[in-house]
């Protein structure tokens, strides 16, 4: 072979190598896109920029909840190697074991993603760490926001924030470990509006995780969008006033604007300071609140079903009239109560017989035993059971035995039994006499304070209600959920309300069951209730709305073990109404003695309150 021909063999090798290389490059750069995506993940580090969480203001724009910056120490576990652990633990004033435990947990979640290793750095640690952190490239400080509350009450209403759980992390990709979200109250139900959109800054990091600058010229960066501010329907002044009135008592106040369904205040007692559940002391305080025997975390207003007592008579009367078994002129006798065989439902002393209007004003028990029996024994229905089912449908239309749909989590339906329950209790052919105690709101029926306040709204509106809600509008565009603008009519015709309202209008004037509690100059339509309580003294219950025409406020007050409705619940409700209706909040009450008596009343005893305070640190 001519040796010079061998040149072509060599050149052929060159060409072959060129072709192989170019094919390989084509595969690496064009076909296999995984490298491209890996490149974005490897050399970069996502730093989350947390948006400001939306603030919450009351109906007049007074700030209730706002933000404060807190600092978390973050770690990317995979990169946390070859660093002076002892020195870092020393800086953090943290036990090495505890540090290792946290690091392991973060690594278990995701070794490549940043996780919180020290939550809520105290300010002195934050400033010191900033100077030394460059020695620990796997660690960085993330600025987050924490909530601050302008009031030391309304905790159940506003809610608190907490760290997302592992389950929530899976469900909602918005969150990453260490993030917080609303756990209860408005914080929870409006979480998606309040949280805003996180921003992202992608920084270029070298193999030592040292930040080299902005990644790809900021191509992948995004700005955070602040969460929407929320205008609550709460009247902060009224709320605080209610909390003062209910201090040292156990119970609940719910006030609603009947013409809109906007909740004006939700007061629970015992309550707690929402500022206890922020920052570093959160976990400690939360445990203390959870274990407290008086259950300060319990949201009575939405979750506790109380027997409505005599307040229920208003509903019974309305249903009776709608069913045609009762007219405003129907009179029933009362001889110290209702007697039927062995059953006696006692009543207090009043004139007899009474018509419908006066039966409400005087709160005659016997009257409503007759009414309820005529409803259930209505020959229109084949059986008591059928009549009972119809009756529960009426109740449901009043928002009783169903969820009201309030925009707060953890609402309870209350208690309305199904007929099957009574079949089990009293046999298949149970009779109206078996359930006679329900005629006056005792026994197998339970309403939450919210449902009772809503009931007052319906009566005030003469037949309809709006879904109660605590938020007026969301964000700069003042968005309003459309569900809250829709009227819900109850099954009772408008015309039947007048008699009931007339009866209620006389309750707070002398001669009525709460005659001494009225406020001069305001027509308060109300109904007292005294719920028998197997565990102790009766609960004092009161529902009301005012003024009589176009009511601006409907209210329900329950004071546990407060005795007669007129003893505590009525004065508190009427003082609330007075406070709300008087445009100038600074004016002294027309009933200063009553106000003082309520403020000073202590039905709890000092021990419980003290024990709570001693457990909670600041």
């Amino acid at each position: 072979m001519d040796k010079s021909r061998r040149l072509f063999i060599l050149l052929a090798m060159l060409v072959l190598v060129g072709i192989v290389f170019i094919i390989r490059l084509f595969f690496l750069q064009i076909v296999d896109t995984s490298n491209y995506y890996k490149a974005q993940a490897y050399g970069s580090n996502d730093i989350t920029i947390y948006p400001a969480r939306g603030t919450i203001v009351d109906r007049y724009g007074k700030l209730m909840v706002y933000n404060d910056a807190v600092y978390d120490l973050m770690v990317v576990p995979q990169k946390a190697k070859d660093f002076d652990k002892m020195a870092l633990c020393h800086e953090l004033m943290l036990d090495t074991n505890e540090f290792n435990k946290r690091l392991k947990k973060a690594s278990k979640y995701n070794p490549r993603e940043p996780s919180v290793i020290y939550k809520n750095l105290p300010f002195h640690l934050y400033t010191r760490l900033q100077e030394v952190l460059y020695q620990y490239p796997a660690f960085y400080i993330e600025t987050k926001i924490d909530r601050r509350y302008n009031i030391n009450g309304a905790a159940h209403l506003l809610g608190y924030m907490g760290e997302v759980t592992e389950k929530q992390l899976e469900q909602d990709k918005y969150y990453k470990p260490g993030d917080t979200k609303g756990i209860t109250g408005i914080e929870k139900s409006y979480e998606v509006y309040l949280r805003g959109h996180k921003g992202k800054k992608v920084v270029l990091v070298d193999k030592f995780s040292k930040t080299q600058g902005s990644f790809a010229g900021g191509k992948f960066d995004s700005l955070p969008f602040a969460g929407d501010n929320i205008i609550s329907s709460i009247d902060l002044d009224l709320q605080v006033f209610g909390e003062k009135l209910l201090a040292n008592k156990i119970g609940s106040i719910v006030a609603i604007e009947p013409s809109t369904g906007e909740v004006l205040s939700i007061v629970n007692s015992p309550n707690y300071d929402p500022n206890l559940l922020v920052g570093q002391r959160r976990n400690k305080n939360f445990a203390a609140l959870l274990l407290d025997p008086i259950k300060p975390l319990f949201n009575r207003a939405l979750k506790a079903p109380y027997p409505p007592g005599s307040t229920f008579k208003t509903i019974q009367a309305l249903i009776g009239m709608q069913e045609g078994v009762l007219t405003p002129d129907t009179k029933y006798p009362c001889s110290g109560g209702y007697h039927m065989g062995s059953i006696t439902v006692g009543c207090h002393a009043h004139g007899s017989p009474l018509d419908l209007k006066n039966s409400i004003t005087k709160s005659c028990n016997a009257y409503y035993c007759f009414v309820y029996r005529s409803i259930l024994d209505n020959p229109k229905y084949p059986s008591v059971q059928d009549a009972y089912v119809k009756w529960t449908q009426y109740l449901n239309s009043f928002g009783i035995g169903t969820l009201t749909g309030i925009d707060l989590p953890e609402e309870s339906k209350g208690i309305v039994k199904k007929p099957s329950y009574f079949e089990r209790e009293f046999g298949k052919n149970w009779r109206s006499s078996n359930v006679i105690s329900m005629s006056i709101g005792q026994g197998q029926i339970g309403l939450t304070p919210l449902q009772m306040a809503n009931m007052a709204c319906i009566i005030g509106n003469r037949g309809y209600f709006y879904t109660p809600h605590v938020v007026r509008s969301i964000g700069d565009k003042h968005m309003v959920p459309t569900a809250f603008a829709q009227r819900h009519y109850c099954m009772v015709n408008k015309m039947y309300f007048d008699t009931v309202v007339a009866g209620m209008a006389n309750v707070c004037i002398p001669g009525g069951t709460a005659g001494h509690t009225g406020i001069p100059g305001i027509t308060i339509c109300a109904k007292t209730g005294t719920a028998q309580n197997p565990h102790g003294k009766d609960h004092s219950i009161f529902i009301a709305f005012a003024p009589r025409e176009n009511p601006q406020i409907a209210i329900c007050v329950i004071v546990e073990n407060g005795g007669f409705g007129a003893d505590y619940a009525a004065p508190i409700a009427n003082l609330m109404i007075e406070r709300y209706l008087s445009k100038n909040r600074g004016l002294p009450s027309a009933k200063p003695d009553m106000l003082n008596r309520m403020l000073k009343a202590n039905l709890v005893g000092s021990s419980a309150k003290d024990s709570l305070q001693s457990k909670i640190g600041d």
Binding site: M1, K3, S4, R6, L7, I9, L10, L11, M13, L14, V15, V17, G18, V20, F21, I22, R24, L25, F26, L28, Q29, I30, D32, T33, S34, N35, Y36, K38, A39, Q40, Y42, G43, S44, L204, V205, D206, K207, Q212, G213, S214, F215, A216, G217
Partner: protein, 445 residues
């Protein structure tokens, strides 16, 4: 009439393009992310510019030198470099485990880079002097010794990569008459090497036995082939077994891993296979307890390199915009992995163009070498092209994950004074010889 410099301008232009492109890429791999464009001579790209200046001066001096000088002093230079390599071995300043540098001030001189140049000169002189072809066994042995001696010295410095470069001279010998069977033999051995590592050696030997029996049966009338088959089978088996032994028992774990990573093997899985009797020799496993850690370390370079090249896509991120490059994620990116920068910042189109330009340069040198009228120039030209080709093949093959990580620079591109200067000397010495050929011709007319 004044003698004109009949230098091959195409080669010069390609050379200048590649050198400038190299400096640009070193700048990209070397400077910070949000750094303003500027010249800083304390940084590598700055130094590279100084090296380019030095190279230019040396190139100029070479072009001024009489062409006879190279032929005349070839052995002298060769002996000088061999001496330097031996001195280095004896005194050797330690660096990265390889004794490969002389420290001169703040610069390090790497004689092994110049050893290729010296070997090329000496080989050209030897083959040119006798006008030999490879019939005489003695001449083959001398030629192989000229190549083998510096290769051995480089290997002793632990600079395996540079030592391997000397195998490229086999291409030169091939052109000068070495039987093509040698190339076939080398390829056969490489194939067996890969198979031995990937498959149980016993099954390869059995397969070879079956093939041999087949050949013997088919060629039962030709006794010569019968013996050839026997010889091939026996020597192959011995080769396979010794390879297996060397790989399992003699190579250090990190060397094993380097080879495995290139062959796309999961190192952990491989060890498990090996420990289950995959190899007939007891396997010397990594003493590193954390296997994942060690795996990451040895596959890290290749993986990062592939990622940054892959990140380029069609057109790349553009000059100074490679995210992987800027993040300094590829180790040794400004030296041995400089091609990553090309891949990431100029994409598939840029890389392909670069590969083509580079191959054009090598091909041009081969072409020029073939047209030389005297043996010395031709052998030197072939040596030059083959050295460049080998470097190019190994370096880019490694960067795109086709070949093992063998740390040798990409000529004219990689950062490094010794490398740039020695390759420039190599290329321009040949261009000077080539220019002289043209002068000789022009004088005839």
């Amino acid at each position: 009439m004044e003698e004109k410099l009949h230098i091959d301008w195409l080669t010069v232009i390609l050379y200048i393009l590649i050198v400038i492109f190299g400096a640009i890429n070193i700048y990209s791999a070397n400077s910070g992310v949000e750094e303003a464009l500027k010249l800083d001579f304390s940084k590598e790209y700055g130094k590279q510019i100084l090296f380019i200046g030095v190279s230019a001066v040396i190139v100029f001096l070479i072009l001024l030198t009489d062409f006879k000088f190279f032929n005349f002093s070839a052995y002298g230079i060769y002996i000088l470099i061999i001496g330097l390599l031996m001195v280095l071995l004896a005194t050797g300043s330690f660096n990265k485990g390889a004794q490969a540098w002389f420290k001169i001030g703040s610069f390090k001189l790497q004689p092994s880079e110049f050893a290729k140049y010296a070997t090329a000169l000496a080989l050209s002189k030897f083959l040119g002097t006798f006008d030999i072809s490879f019939e005489g066994r003695r001449n083959v042995l001398i030629a192989l010794s000229i190549i083998g001696f510096p290769m051995l010295l480089t290997l002793l410095q632990n600079d395996t990569g540079s030592a391997l470069v000397f195998t490229c001279f086999i291409l030169v010998l091939f052109r000068e008459g070495l039987s093509g069977w040698w190339l076939v033999l080398v390829m056969y051995m490489v194939t067996l090497f890969v198979l031995t590592i990937l498959l149980p050696s016993i099954s390869i030997i059995i397969t070879l036995a079956v093939l041999s029996v087949l050949v013997v049966y088919l060629a039962r009338k030709k006794q010569q082939l019968f013996w050839l088959a026997i010889i091939v089978f026996v020597s192959s088996s011995v080769y396979i077994l010794s390879l297996d032994y060397v790989f399992a028992r003699i190579l250090k774990p990190h060397q094993q891993q380097r080879i495995l990573v290139t062959l796309n093997q999961d190192v952990d899985e491989y060890y498990v296979k090996k420990s289950k009797g995959f190899s007939i020799f007891k396997f010397k496993k990594a003493e590193v307890t954390d296997k994942k850690e060690s795996k990451r370390d040895y596959s890290y370079n290749v993986r990062q390199s592939k990622i940054s090249i892959g990140a380029g896509r069609w057109t790349g991120n553009g000059f100074n915009n490679g995210t992987q490059t800027k993040a300094k994620l590829v180790p040794e990116q400004h030296t041995d992995f400089i091609f990553c920068t090309v891949g990431e910042e100029y994409g598939f189109l840029g890389s392909t163009l670069f590969v083509l330009v580079y191959l054009l340069l090598i091909g041009r040198v081969y072409y020029l070498a073939e047209r030389q009228k005297n043996e010395f120039s031709r052998v030197f030209g072939y040596s030059t092209a083959s050295i460049l080709f080998f470097h190019f093949f190994i370096n880019i093959g490694m960067a795109i994950g086709l070949l093992p990580v063998i740390g040798i620079p990409l000529p004219f591109m990689s950062y490094g004074g010794s490398s740039l200067i020695s390759f420039s000397m190599l290329l321009f010495t040949f261009l000077k010889l080539d220019a002289n050929r043209v002068n000789e011709i022009s004088r005839l007319y």
